[in-house]
């Protein structure tokens, strides 16, 4: 009995310590983003300051093209989410519920692409996009991401769980194949689509190397790529950079606060691929 008590206490202490390690950097970032520049670069450094200001959030728009970054990230990540959720679900539906010649071969092909890290083929992809004149365009950022093997896989594993005779009765009612998909199937898999969309949104919002490669003008950069390039290891104006960092992570953190279930589900589902 006694040892279990000690274990309980020790585990609580460890977890609280871990909570602090996770929360502190965010707390510090938030506080710093409201500090005057001189309070950030003062020595010895302090967590809190005597005066706070909103200045950094005003200055950030002139020191960093942050609004352009934000707009680009929303268009890129949002565009990928909208197009890929449709294309992935269509393919997943066919793979899960329709018997057709070559189904296994096509599905194997999809699975094979899942294991190919982007880093391996980024150079030919760059050359290809260059030839297609798609570098530095929204289309160039969105097109390659409009379908993803893991998205198809995730949606397929949901479609197979739906009852068997669903589409038979719809066919008898005279619906065509596309209507069966859009009117019967899609409404049933809203949670799965939401999970996939959130996963896609998060991946693309956070992505660095991919947008770094496919864009080259400053006003086409995404938040992750733009901040990394402009700031990187050499921060020039701490206050605005802190504010910019807050702005870059806030949208997803807010979304996470309201839809934690889907974020977690996405992490688990992407972990289920065998």
């Amino acid at each position: 009995m006694k040892t279990s008590m000690i274990r309980e206490v020790l585990s609580k202490i460890f977890l609280i310590f871990l909570l602090l390690i996770i929360i502190f950097p965010f707390f510090w970032l938030l506080v710093s983003s409201f500090k005057n520049e001189k309070d950030i670069i003062t020595y010895p450094p302090a967590i809190l300051a005597l005066t706070y200001t909103f200045d950094n959030y005003v200055k950030v728009r002139t020191t960093i093209p942050l609004m352009a970054y934000l707009k680009n990230t929303v268009i890129f990540a949002g565009g990928v989410v909208l197009t890929s959720s449709l294309i992935n679900s269509l393919a997943a539906y066919a793979f899960a519920r329709i018997k057709f010649k070559g189904r296994n071969i096509f599905f194997f092909f999809v699975l094979l692409t899942m294991m190919m890290p982007f880093q391996i083929f980024m150079i030919p992809l760059f050359m290809q996009m260059n030839k297609l004149n798609l570098l530095d365009t929204y289309a160039g950022l969105i097109l390659p991401r409009m379908a993803s093997a893991s998205g198809i896989f995730l949606m397929r594993s949901f479609f197979v769980t739906l009852p068997k005779d669903l589409e038979e009765s719809a066919r008898i009612d005279g619906l065509n194949e596309l209507q069966i998909f859009s009117k019967i199937m899609l409404p049933l898999c809203k949670p799965a689509i939401l999970t996939m969309s959130i996963l896609t949104l998060m991946t693309n919002w956070k992505d660095l190397l991919y947008p770094l490669l496919l864009t080259n003008s400053t006003n086409m950069r995404t938040l992750a790529a733009g901040l990394a390039l402009l700031v990187g290891q050499n921060i020039f104006a701490y206050g605005p950079v802190m504010a910019g960092t807050i702005i870059s992570i806030l949208p997803l953190i807010i979304l996470y606060a309201f839809m934690q279930k889907y974020f977690v589900q996405g992490a688990i589902m992407s972990g289920l691929k065998e």
Binding site: W28, I40, P117, I123, A228
Partner: protein, 302 residues
């Protein structure tokens, strides 16, 4: 004419035909933007190609021969393996311990789960910026407190010996929420009756952990190890933001080297592709090895 259209519509409306239309967009996108570039990697590696497509010529195996003698490439491979060996075991270890500690669904544990996942939704760019200021030798608050505790001038990302371990620990901080979440789902799927039976036999918590939890969640554990391993080998973002490969190439990784070879002067895309192709073979080989090892372990456990 309209009969013809009707016939076409009827043909494609048969489920076994419509299926091809349904998978067509996905297959097209994956073929054009994944498979063709992937094949391209192996072909371009045999050419001298620069970013401006001037002086393109067949190079044969010259690029690959050059790679063997390229000390910067070998250094990058070493750094990548070093990062992987630091990051992967620690991340899976921390993820496992935490997931076991918070497996009961109490309010406190649910709070922990929610908080531990927060870094996962933030870009490594943002996280890199945060940590490089926190650990800055001059204005970093953590460096300052460590100095006060008696640690000699801790400069972390600027210290040749400490830079890579620091990047690895930061990566664990950023990503262990994913491992924790996956393992937590696996642990919650273990039948409670197994623990009850062990409890009846008087097995200690430690014994229960090693003899019930670990074997039961082994597939999930293996999955985490493998994906973490593959992900670590491709490390780029966090290094690019915090150290840029320095100090003195001590943290330059393979992907970063491929990137700088291809996209900074003299823009040798052919050589960079050759490195990519060899790198792909290395990852595939090591992943296979790890997979075989885990399967053997799993067979031994059951």
């Amino acid at each position: 004419m309209s009969d013809k259209i009707k016939a076409i519509v009827r043909f494609w409306n048969k489920p076994q035909h419509a299926a091809y239309l349904f998978i067509l967009p996905a297959i097209l996108v994956l073929s054009i933007f994944t498979v063709i570039p992937l094949i391209g990697t192996f072909i371009i590696g045999f050419f001298n190609i620069n970013i401006f497509f001037t002086n393109t010529s067949f190079a044969g195996v010259a690029n690959f021969m050059r790679l063997i003698q390229d000390s910067r490439a070998i250094n990058a491979l070493g750094n990548t393996l070093y990062f992987t060996l630091l990051q992967t075991p620690v991340q899976v270890g921390v993820g496992l311990v935490v997931s076991v500690l918070i497996s009961k669904s109490t309010i406190f544990n649910k709070f922990c789960r929610a908080v531990f996942f927060i870094p996962v939704v933030c870009s490594l760019t943002a996280i890199g910026i945060i940590w490089s200021v926190l650990l800055d030798g001059n204005i970093g608050i953590i460096s300052y407190y460590l100095l006060r505790l008696g640690v000699q001038s801790p400069t972390f990302f600027r210290d040749p010996a400490l830079a890579m371990p620091t990047v690895a620990v930061m990566t664990v901080w950023a990503n262990f929420g994913v491992t924790m979440t996956i393992l937590l789902a696996a642990i919650q799927g273990v039948s409670l009756s197994l623990y009850e039976a062990a409890e009846m036999d008087g097995a200690s918590k430690m014994r229960q952990f090693f003899h019930i939890t670990i074997p039961q969640i082994f597939p999930a554990l293996g999955y985490c190890l493998l994906t973490n391993f593959i992900g670590s080998m491709q490390v780029f973002d966090q290094v690019y933001v915090t150290t840029g490969g320095g100090p003195n190439f001590k943290t330059e990784t393979i992907v970063q080297y491929i990137y700088s070879r291809g996209f900074t002067s003299p823009f040798e895309l052919g050589y960079a592709s050759a490195i990519s192709a060899v790198f792909f073979a290395i990852i595939a080989f090591l992943s296979l090895l790890l997979n075989v090892y885990m399967s053997r372990k799993e067979a031994g456990l059951s």
